[in-house]
Symmetry: C2
Subunit: 362 residues, 2 copies
DNA sequence: TAGTTATGCTTAAACGTTTAACCAAAAAAT
DNA sequence: ATTTTTTGGTTAAACGTTTAAGCATAACTA
């Protein structure tokens, strides 16, 4: 009898609360506490399955929470706990398959551990990148995972992240000098694979449209290209090694530059797929047979490489694995409460995907 | 003299604070207050240029803030003010040029007004979409801008957003029933433009590989296609109207289905570029001349449409404008403190970009 | 000169959680 | 029967801001 009156009493309190809230204000831990006549602290503990709270109370709390449509206020708990459970991501752009795939896999791993990600794009602009860093720091992210813009040479803004004491993890476009964790592929070896493949196809004059030398990954690709040429006793000529921003447009220009040479190359290795596409367009337009007259290899394995005519050989960069590892690396840092940056490099092996554009004999 | 001692005194306090903080803990408003011997409230007001604070104090506060490398704690202010200055974005995927361009423009407008955006991807999955909504609500976003997954038919989760009292704005893939703001293009008219263009090229049997009928935009494209056929007295045959999920793979399949017909079409209008690409691949593989034997038109004006052979005619969806308008619409809602959802549709005119795949006579 | 107003702050409470420290009552141990 | 331990909580402070309300002091007004 007493039990029943109590239940009725509680139901009354509850419905009173519900009408009072009237879908207007969000229910808080305090509201739940009031309904059950216990302290907010007890509610908080109950919701977190604290061992010092009885099963009965936990059940009741969860029931009332559901009824009041309670949603924890993330801001409050983040403020109190000193962490936001947000991870900031900076990429040059999202509309490349590589970056969007990296992000997707990162998100998957991080979501599972209760983290959300804030994605920002630098559009390859250093200024935008700095703004993004400010934005992310302002939002109190618990860490930042980034791939640097092409333009970026000044690292002071990244030092700012480090000095804030939150983990910074770089992928793809990174910098040794920053002394932080890095996940990427073996660019130097990839160049070797490409040159070796082209040599096997019978190519003798291999050109390279590379990225900016000041960017580590492109520098490594260039070094790989040079060393591989040496290895196969091929001529290393200045006119065959061109620096580019690797956009489609610039790919066109640099290809034209190669075609204007007295002594044309019989193969071109382009350090990015978009630029390789530009190169291919120029070759197609001028009826230069690919791969017969000039073989072509790109870098990145963007989906369109399998769509163009002829299909474009390229390097697969293991985007999913990079995303997964970057996320796991962050989680490692997040586990320990003392932030210790370490130059821990995780270098993955890339795969050469041979397609029509470089298959001389079938 | 007194002035100088005071300055020295302050400098001492400051340096004491700096070493105390020692790059360890972040400086707060309270630290600044302590250095200057004023109240935290005064500091807060000074930083916000409150008129009740003297210029002298403001200057001093800002100077000390800079020296201590003070960064406002966004979580605290968000908690206090009851708003996070975060806008949630849900898109089916980011690696399509359309969505990434929408996002980029949205971001630009919102950043200028002090908002940051959290991007989430549904991967066309209803379940992921629901999880994303929960995530965003949990993160206390001030509003959500979304484009729905293909799978989504149940709108209860979106109702959940509305019931939370934060603005919801849909773009591209929206739903009338939700009764919220919507920004998109005129799909019905776009179909008309395409059919008209194909008729002008002399096509007589025009097929349509469309999206799911239950999605409003695809339904509109289908209706536009049907009505345009009527207008030009062309045969409307069931076998020429196919429903698809519009992936590249499905585009291949559905194209093959059309090729298997007794009476093949002489033009195919595909409601999405990726599916159109699949269709093109099948046609190229079987040496069916495009546009001579079969003309082809896609939808979306993805960059690759200008890369493939032959280049693909398509509809430009005004991504930048959509992003801009979605952001502005959110800001409109954010201005007024009372949230009032309205079915305010902003429909933009799309542009048909004619390329090789549908140019029969040049 | 008294009264009013403007200036430039301070005080204190609030936002919603979390958590260390404490405590009463019940259960177990001696 | 007394002490100890366990159970199931409570209290109060804290996280870093913002803001309404209050209050001296200075400056103007009549």
């Amino acid at each position: 009898m007493i039990f029943i009156t109590k239940v009725i009493y509680l139901l009354k309190r509850l419905s009173k609360y519900r009408t009072k809230l009237g879908n207007k204000k969000k229910a808080t831990i305090k509201d739940i506490a009031n309904v059950l006549n216990i302290s907010p602290a007890a509610v908080s503990k109950a919701l977190h399955d604290d061992s010092r709270i009885s099963e009965k109370t936990k059940k009741a709390v969860k029931q009332v929470a559901k009824n009041l449509n309670y949603q924890p206020n993330h801001l409050a708990s983040a403020l109190r706990k000193g962490k936001s459970n947000l991870v900031g991501v900076i990429v040059p752009r999202t509309n490349s398959n590589f970056f969007s795939s990296v992000i997707q896999n990162m998100e998957e791993v991080l979501n599972r551990k209760g983290y959300n990600i804030i994605i920002t794009q630098s559009n390859e602009s250093y200024k935008k990148e700095c703004a993004n860093i400010d934005t992310l720091l302002f939002t109190q992210v618990d860490g930042i995972i980034a791939s640097m813009a092409n333009e970026t040479v000044d690292l002071s803004y990244y030092e700012k992240i480090k000095s804030k004491g939150i983990p910074l993890i770089l992928f793809d476009r990174g910098e040794n000098d920053l002394n932080v964790d890095y996940i990427g592929i073996n660019d130097y070896e990839s160049s070797h694979m490409i040159v070796e493949h082209l040599v096997n196809q019978g190519c003798k004059r291999i050109a390279h449209i590379g990225g900016y030398k000041h960017t580590r990954i492109y520098n490594n690709r260039i070094r790989g290209y040079i060393d591989a040429l040496k290895k196969y006793h091929l001529p290393l000529e200045n006119e065959l090694l061109i620096e580019s921003n690797l956009t489609t447009e610039d790919g066109r220009e640099k290809m034209q530059q190669l075609l204007n040479l007295e002594n044309r190359p019989d193969a071109v290795y382009v350090a990015g797929d978009y630029a390789a596409l530009g190169a291919l367009q120029v070759l197609n337009e001028q009826n230069i047979k690919v791969p017969h007259d000039i073989a072509l290899v790109g870098f990145g394995d963007e989906p369109f490489t399998a769509m163009v005519t002829p299909t474009l050989s390229s390097i697969n960069q293991q985007s999913s694995e990079i995303g997964r590892l970057a996320a796991l690396t962050f989680l490692e840092h997040a586990k320990k409460d003392i932030v210790t940056q370490s130059l821990n490099k995780q270098i993955l092996d890339a795969k050469l995907i041979v397609r029509e554009s470089s298959k001389k004999h079938i």
